[in-house]
Assembly symmetry: C2
Homo-oligomer: 353 residues x 2
């Protein structure tokens, strides 16, 4: 599949931003900063259902006549009486005698990352890492000492396989970058499980723009003493010529096994190092495609809420609004490309990330 | 989007069956009956990793010298010593101070069904129901008394909406059929939450072949005293002309919100009513497309393992092989169409399922 042009991104970005705006009626930036904490599971009143199932008030609970009698727990006031006297003739939960269907979101806790795995796409849902000036200074790990590994903690049938990537045309793209885990060889090895990988376009993306973006994240530690990054794939719809939105992605492997994400997100939490301090949040969505180095990083900034809606995940639900700042208002969100001339040369000589 | 031809199904079926066969080397039916229980989380040896991290044998655990000393738990033999003395300089789990990203698979337990919800596609992962001759005999509920409802138990931002379906061209397709929950009006109402719906092609599928298939499931109760059915959507890849496999599905709503599944599965457990008795299992995958009534149902039978691999779910992991039978070997898996002439007429007069 020829990687779709980066120009498609604007459309998608507009679409997910539109989704947020439409849902909130608020400005995009405001949505990012003030709304992502409102994602707690809510149970609003259900007027339609209530109308169908009237709930007559219950009589007061009987008072036990003797202290020898074990008192029954009080009947909650206003609890609806069953409106039907029929004893349920079925037991849907009986299915679980044969096992719970899942899905199991395989959580892995390793030295340098925590990840949650999607058994359907054979990609992670998200991987979370933490970097500091001190952790990046340590240089104990070397990527030459690491090898790509299928994740043995996943059931065999749901694993991404090394052979799925073979001759697929895609890189095994680290979600937590190896270069963020140089503080020990084990920490680096932990980033080489395929459960920390997604198929990524190599030239022009994984080895270029995405690598520069990863470097941008590391450079944040020159301003912030502690930086947390959540990274993962997205499968976003694109508007076709007929006006309909469609998700379209390749699946690599034979038989087909690992989905090729259309986009990748990073949600960045840049901390000031104080307990209860300020947190600068930035969310970015990049297409899994060739992106020219000239393209400003700021064009890929999206509201956190947009990543949440597209991924089905929630970020920062417990972070109070007054502790939040917008990362790209707190500092300039732009890439530094020139340092990479040598690195790009190394890649061109056949090295794969 | 014009629904893709049912002829595509064969290709997909072949693909997922091929996947199973390739992975197991066993015959398809054998795979269905004997392998779907092998999905327990396994932790095989990791030779590559072990080679990198040699595990020197530990000295024997010291024997406590006095019975007054609380004995330490024995040190497991062969447990690897840490190969690095570095204290981890980072704490990836610190992210969770801001909330756990999820995904949350919203489990709902209602009178007539249990469901698990996919916040990314805004469709269920699965819905589970239970029918018996007695439950189907009761006729207390009437679909005229039910209305389609957005599920108030889901966070607003992750809900499928009534407006998403409006003018989408797709039916709000029950996963647990309303007709399976006539035993009370509440039980029937429970099937009308959008969390029990997926966008389904109406004419030729939801109102026709799929409806006949649902009737096939109900008729199983004439032979089996207790029938459990798990139903849900799939998003399957199709082989394109260039030889690559791609998943391609529409997303309805404005902004786009609910995915239109490419296929639907049912995994059926037909029980003999004895504790620890025989269970006849059948798994079927149908394309979300017009299917001619003449098409034999047996063509859509697949190994349970194929549904598991495609959905990321697991069925019957706790059901011993010796208790299993293959449903379509135990009875004839075929539809009865003729009874539906009148019903189809009703649909043609503007009624939507």
């Amino acid at each position: 599949m020829p990687p779709s042009s980066a120009l498609n991104m604007s459309k998608t970005t507009i679409a997910i931003i539109a989704a947020v705006s439409a849902a909130t009626g608020a400005a995009v930036t405001a949505a990012s900063m003030s709304l992502s904490g409102s994602g707690k599971k809510s149970k609003p009143a259900t007027p339609l259902l209530s109308a169908q199932l009237p709930s007559p008030p219950l009589p007061p609970a009987p008072v036990p006549m003797s202290t020898n009698t074990i008192p029954l727990p009080p009947v909650p006031v206003g609890r609806p009486l069953p409106t039907s006297a029929i004893v349920p003739p079925v037991d849907p939960a009986g299915l679980f005698q044969y096992g719970f269907p899942g899905p199991v979101n395989d959580l892995a806790t390793r030295n340098s990352l925590i990840s949650s795995y999607d058994r359907r796409t054979k990609n992670p849902f998200w991987v979370a890492e933490h970097i500091t000036p001190a952790s990046l200074k340590l240089q104990e790990g070397d990527r030459k000492g690491s090898v790509f590994l299928e994740d043995p903690d996943l059931p065999e049938r749901f694993r991404g396989k090394l052979k799925d990537y073979f001759r697929s045309g895609y890189d095994r793209g680290h979600q937590v970058p190896a270069a963020d885990a140089k503080w020990s060889q084990e920490a680096m090895n932990d980033t080489f499980y395929l459960s920390n990988m997604c198929p990524q376009v190599g030239e022009g993306f994984n080895r270029d723009y995405w690598a520069h973006f990863e470097d941008f994240c590391r450079r944040l530690t020159t301003k912030y003493p502690s930086v947390r990054i959540v990274t993962g794939p997205l499968y976003l719809p694109k508007r076709d010529a007929d006006g309909k939105w469609r998700v379209n992605y390749e699946v690599i492997g034979n038989p087909p096994n690992i989905a090729v994400p259309t986009h990748f997100y990073k949600v960045i939490f840049a901390e000031d190092g104080m307990v209860g301090g300020q947190v600068a949040i930035g969310a970015f969505v990049l297409p899994n495609a060739v992106i020219p180095n000239e393209k400003p990083l700021a064009e890929f900034e999206v509201p956190v809420e947009a990543v949440e809606r597209a991924s089905g995940l929630e970020f920062a639900t417990k972070l109070p609004v007054q502790r939040r700042k917008r990362l790209c208002a707190d500092m300039q969100c732009s890439l530094v490309i020139k340092e990479y001339a040598q690195r790009q040369k190394a890649f061109a000589q056949g090295g794969k990330k």
